[in-house]
């Protein structure tokens, strides 16, 4: 069991408070979705939790060890991180990009060890990229690219995964496919924290929802406990009708 525990984490950029005393936890075996409007501090919370930016106060611990004290390699072996997808610098082959997921294990792409190669092969076939693995990444569609980045994250064989908007700009079918991939990763013992903007999909896949607004975590619990019309009004400023996990939005408040 691996866990990422965030306690009283605050992040500031100059005078602005981006994250205000956030506390939560991500454990293996759960799929947590982080919800909140633009500017709520979701990405900052993730980056602070991973030690990529220095928090103003508070702590983030991986299995009881402060994230800041871990080397980037040690951290990457425990948590895969998928930031919002940016274009690759070079037109690399799909297989080579997936192999970069093995970086923290010391892999040199082009000269993979048997263990690295096995992990890359497994990730490629799990994400249905076998027929694409020798293609140049700049020839892939948006959905294929998203799968490639998922495969890269899975190839690390890290117990935890943090993904920032992994399904942004994908068509509905690909949104389901990517979330199914992450779901099966969790079913096989991983733990995932995702930032999503589609609340209905979040409600369908998440074992827990974290709601953020203005840098603060305003709710943290199961879908049944935390998803309500009032919550949507409070966090997103929309009027909506909620029945079970079905949400019908009527408009902005």
């Amino acid at each position: 069991m691996t866990s990422l525990r965030i306690s009283d984490l605050s992040i500031r950029a100059k005078q602005t408070v981006l994250v205000d005393r956030a506390s939560t936890e991500l454990k293996t075996g759960e799929l947590v979705v982080l919800l909140g409007p633009n500017g709520a501090g979701k990405t900052s919370l993730i980056r602070g939790a991973l030690g990529l930016i220095k928090p103003a106060s508070g702590a983030s611990e991986l299995d009881g060890r402060a994230v800041a004290s871990l080397s980037p390699t040690e951290r990457a072996q425990l948590i895969s991180y998928l930031p919002q997808i940016r274009p690759l610098a070079w037109p690399n082959r799909v297989r080579d990009v997936v192999a970069l997921g093995r970086f923290s294990h010391g892999a040199t792409i082009g000269r993979l060890s048997a263990e690295d190669r096995a992990a890359v092969d497994t990730a490629i076939s799990a994400c249905d990229l076998t027929h694409l693995q020798d293609r140049s990444a700049d020839t892939l569609s948006g959905g294929e690219l998203a799968r490639m980045h998922c495969a890269r994250a899975f190839a690390a064989n890290a117990p935890l995964l943090v993904a920032d908007e992994p399904i942004a700009a994908l068509d509905p079918r690909h949104q389901f496919r990517i979330l199914d991939l992450i779901k099966s990763y969790v079913d096989q013992g991983g733990g995932a924290l995702l930032v999503l903007h589609d609340i209905e999909l979040a409600a369908r896949y998440a074992s827990r929802l974290i709601w953020m607004k203005d840098g603060r975590i305003v709710a943290d619990g199961s879908v049944e406990e935390t998803l309500s019309a009032d919550r949507l009004a409070e966090v997103y400023g929309v009027s909506a009708t909620v029945s079970d996990t079905r949400i019908i939005m009527d408009g902005a408040l």
Binding site: L50, P72, V97, T108, G110
Partner: protein, 344 residues
């Protein structure tokens, strides 16, 4: 594995090409080195060059080969290799095919310091003054960039600092030429700024070598992180790259290697852009794997350009830096125009 087995050609063909690349370039370099000894104002036939290599032949031949042509060719190779290696590494670091020591202002700063040593006549005190000055200039620029690299997250900022450094160094060089005390130092400065490997001795090479070797070693030892940077800085940190250390090592290594190259030949531009650009497709666009072939190829290119400089009939010998820029600058523009907006 199933796809590899079902389509063996796809899997084997590129790896043959990839494996053959470095031996092919090495053979090319050896041939070019030998050609450099054959060709020149008075061509030597191959048997006399061979004889001179192995201590036979007459004194004149040995002098031409060992004291003039071989050190000159070796200098051209080393300067090219240093620039190709630095260019490939900086392109990997900045994720931009247009980056090279010139863009970051390292070449300009090294040239400025060299020009400074000429202006103040320091070169009269010791033949080592000019090479030392070039390396100090490169390290100064490098230190500033390393300092900036610690403070900023942004690649664009580093490039802008490089542009600023280049412009400032250029302005100071113009100022010194403007104020040059006599036509001789002006001619010296211009010679230096044009870039050349004519009349270089093994002594000159020996002085630049330690810096060149140190820089190359740093770049080669830290090259694996450049692969990770393909993903962008955020994702590279995500897969476990120590971004700060990577930046410092690459900038430092490129600074040392570039300083050594400027010490040897003055400012020679664009070879650091062109060589990695042509090599990249053969290394599957992996920046780490492109370092060694880029260095060999850039060395080969400069040796060939230097042969050209020597055999083109002209009243005064063409300068290597001028020829490199004449060929390289259009290539630079072409590469820039191929860039798509998607890659910021």
């Amino acid at each position: 594995m199933s796809a590899l087995q079902s389509n063996p050609e796809l899997a084997i063909a590129p790896s043959l090409l990839e494996r053959g690349l470095i031996p092919f370039l090495l053979i090319g370099c050896v041939i070019a080195l030998f050609l450099s000894c054959l060709l020149g104002s008075t061509p030597l036939p191959p048997d006399r060059v061979f004889a001179a290599f192995f201590g036979g032949a007459d004194v004149g031949d040995r002098l031409v080969v060992w004291s003039i042509r071989l050190p000159r060719a070796l200098a051209a190779f080393l300067v090219g290799a240093a620039l190709g290696l630095s260019g490939a590494a900086l392109q990997g670091l900045l994720r931009n095919p247009l980056a090279e020591p010139g863009v970051l202002g390292v070449s300009a700063s090294a040239s400025l310091a060299a020009t400074f040593s000429i202006y103040y006549g320091l070169v009269a005190f010791s033949p080592w003054a000019l090479p030392l000055a070039a390396i100090i200039g490169a390290l100064g620029a490098t230190a500033l960039l390393a300092l900036a690299a610690i403070r900023t997250q942004s690649v664009i900022t580093l490039i802008l600092i490089g542009v600023g450094l280049s412009s400032f160094a250029g302005a100071l060089m113009s100022l010194m030429m403007n104020l040059a005390p006599n036509p001789f130092s002006l001619a010296d400065m211009i010679n230096w700024m044009l870039g050349s490997v004519a009349n270089r001795s093994f002594n000159d090479i020996g002085f630049a070598a330690p810096f060149l070797v140190a820089g190359a070693a740093i770049l080669l030892l830290s090259r694996r992180g450049l692969s990770a940077l393909t993903l962008g800085e955020e994702a590279a940190s995500g897969v476990g790259l120590n971004l700060r250390n990577q930046r410092i090592l690459t900038v430092l290594g490129a600074g040392l290697a570039t300083g050594a190259s400027v010490a040897l030949a003055g400012a020679i531009g664009f070879v650091g852009i062109v060589a990695p650009h042509l090599i990249r497709p053969f290394t599957r666009h992996d920046p780490a794997r492109s370092l060694i072939p880029s260095a060999l190829f850039a060395g080969l290119l400069l040796m060939l350009a230097d042969i050209m400089v020597r055999i083109v009939p002209s009243q005064s010998e063409l300068k290597l830096g001028v020829v490199a820029a004449l060929l390289g600058a259009p290539a630079f523009i072409w590469i820039a125009m191929q860039r798509r907006a998607a890659h910021d």
